[in-house]
């Protein structure tokens, strides 16, 4: 159910049975508790620490980095531990520590916009789908269209049309997230609508929108929280894949994906070039998937 078939694999967290109805057919007033419980598991704590560390490093980049991320020098491919360059330098003699730190910043900036935009749009589509059968068909076909297009080809085309920069990256990520959120919420609403408590509320005289907002949405929204964590990892992968195709953020600004893709030709002779971004991406993705997993377990329970 992840929306980006060709950019990232599905994470286990996206695959779940339909969300079960609350046990006693009542509104789940205690819905905050499962999340708190989920986030206090060891798994989630590890995830939070990993993500927190990466995010903090990115936020503090100007303080931690000793050089500008685009300052070049004659010192190419210096190794780890070179004086002044703890992570070494890249092919153009730029400080890798500051490129990675600023790269985190750039990535965070992108995914912090793209994922919410995709999520909101997807949810709006789902609400539209729930409102009327004709709209439902239309929305489903739109999701089909988005899913059917190979994401990387879409990324190439969008960037060629819009020109380089953050906008196409954000747009491609958001577009890829729309069906994921949309399908999840639509499915959730459909399931919840058939539950007894909803029927009861409706019979009890509640209006359609009121039933939707007060009764259906809070219960259908659980998987969405998990999906946010999953989507964040997918977003990191998409940014990286686009950098690999040369259609990412405008150089020389670093992103995790662009530093990683620049390091690939030097993998054999200067493996340290790839190590910094690779470890960072892995930590970030790992942390996010641990959190997603922990949330998913609680939600499923």
């Amino acid at each position: 159910m992840t929306s980006t078939p060709d950019l990232a694999p599905a994470s286990p967290a996206t695959l779940r049975k339909p969300v079960r109805a609350p046990q006693k057919g009542t509104l789940r007033k205690t819905s905050r508790h499962p999340y708190r419980a989920a986030l206090s598991t060891a798994r989630a704590r590890t995830g939070l620490v990993l993500v927190g560390a990466v995010v903090l490093a990115g936020l503090l980049a100007p303080l931690l980095a000793g050089h500008g991320p685009t300052d070049q020098s004659g010192l190419s491919l210096a190794g780890v531990g070179t004086p002044g360059h703890p992570l070494g330098t890249d092919d153009l003699g730029r400080d890798l520590l500051s490129r990675v730190l600023y790269g985190i910043r750039a990535d965070l900036g992108i995914i912090a916009i793209a994922v919410p935009v995709g999520a909101v749009l997807g949810c709006l589509f789902a609400l539209a789908a729930a409102a009327h059968p004709v709209l439902d068909t239309l929305v489903q076909r739109i999701f089909d269209l988005i899913l059917a297009f190979p994401g990387l080809i879409l990324a190439l085309a969008v960037t060629a049309i819009l020109g380089p920069g953050r906008l196409p990256v954000v747009l491609v990520i958001a577009l890829a997230e729309i069906p994921a959120f949309g399908r999840l919420l639509r499915g959730g609403i459909l399931v919840q609508r058939e539950r007894e408590y909803v029927t009861a509320a409706r019979v009890g005289g509640s209006s359609g929108p009121r039933v939707l907002v007060r009764h259906i949405l809070p219960n259908a929204a659980d998987p969405l929280i998990v999906q946010v964590a999953v989507s964040l990892t997918v977003a990191v992968f998409i940014e990286g894949a686009m950098s690999f195709l040369g259609v990412g953020v405008r150089p020389p600004e670093p992103t995790l994906g662009s530093v990683l893709s620049q390091s690939m030709p030097y993998l054999a002779q200067a493996p340290h070039f790839a190590a910094g971004p690779l470890i960072t991406v892995t930590a970030l993705v790992l942390g996010l998937s641990l959190i997603a997993e922990a949330l998913n377990r609680e939600v499923r329970r």
């Binding site: 060709d6 269209l145 049309i161």
Partner: protein, 314 residues
Amino acid sequence: MRGYLLRRLPSALLVLLGASFLIFTILRLVPGDPASSLAGPDADAATVAAIRERLGLDAPLLTQYAHWIGSLVTGDLGPSYAIGGQVSDLIADGLGATAELTVAALLFVIVLGGAFGILGATSRSGWVRSAIRVTTTAALAVPPFVSGVLLVLLFAVVLGALPPGGRVSFLGAPDLAAQYLLLPALCLALPSAAVLGRYLKDGIERALAEDYIRTATAAGVAPRRLLWRHALPNALPPVVTLLGMQTGHLLGGAVLVEAIFAWPGLGQLAEQGLSRRDYPVVQDLLLLLVAVFVVVQLLTDLVYAWLDPRIRWE
């Protein structure tokens, strides 16, 4: 059932029509054009104009669109602009290569994922279980474009055991073809195998925790029998559904893996076609992908309808 199909057909056709229009428009919006792409970096205006005329790009857009739809209806897709050869041949070749890669990857997913799941759930050795945990976590956390390069580095550069890229036909030399297939298939399969393994592990663990299994264990039924006869069959159905979805991911993920391993499949063809502005190749290929998707959706809906009696065909 026929009635149901007939009712679904218009909306499927509508999607295809919409997609064709979208594809056509997006391609024309992309700057650069096939003629100047073919003309080379030193061409003058006369060269570009001559090539435009030859390709029929001087005709109005609507005519070009009609010409394309016409070619689809007659089934004669015509020659490619820049890659060379007939579009239908190019797509058929690419489809074969992509299918080969996907099927091989699917095998890997089943075998590796199965091993991860069963061992992860039942191995007594904590070491094995952690090793599987680490492997599946890494398989999911390392982006495929990196894992691909790492695989090439390890198996082709350091060990020199496998070819780093390319494809050999299974018809001529199946043993060599398998070796060319191994790395890309593995790279493509790893994330999905990890997902499958984890899901299977969860399923088995849950099944083994069910009351009747506890009872059976207490009654002295062999754990192996419990696993293969009871726990696994119970854990399998959702895994099969999952496998179906992962097949879609494999097909999509093939685009990136093909680029890393020079695997001449549909993804490579689409990327090449787009980068050279080979309109016919990209148009037909993208529409084919949409069509496949629509058909798969239709089939899925049919199966669901068949399984769920509440959905009526009539």
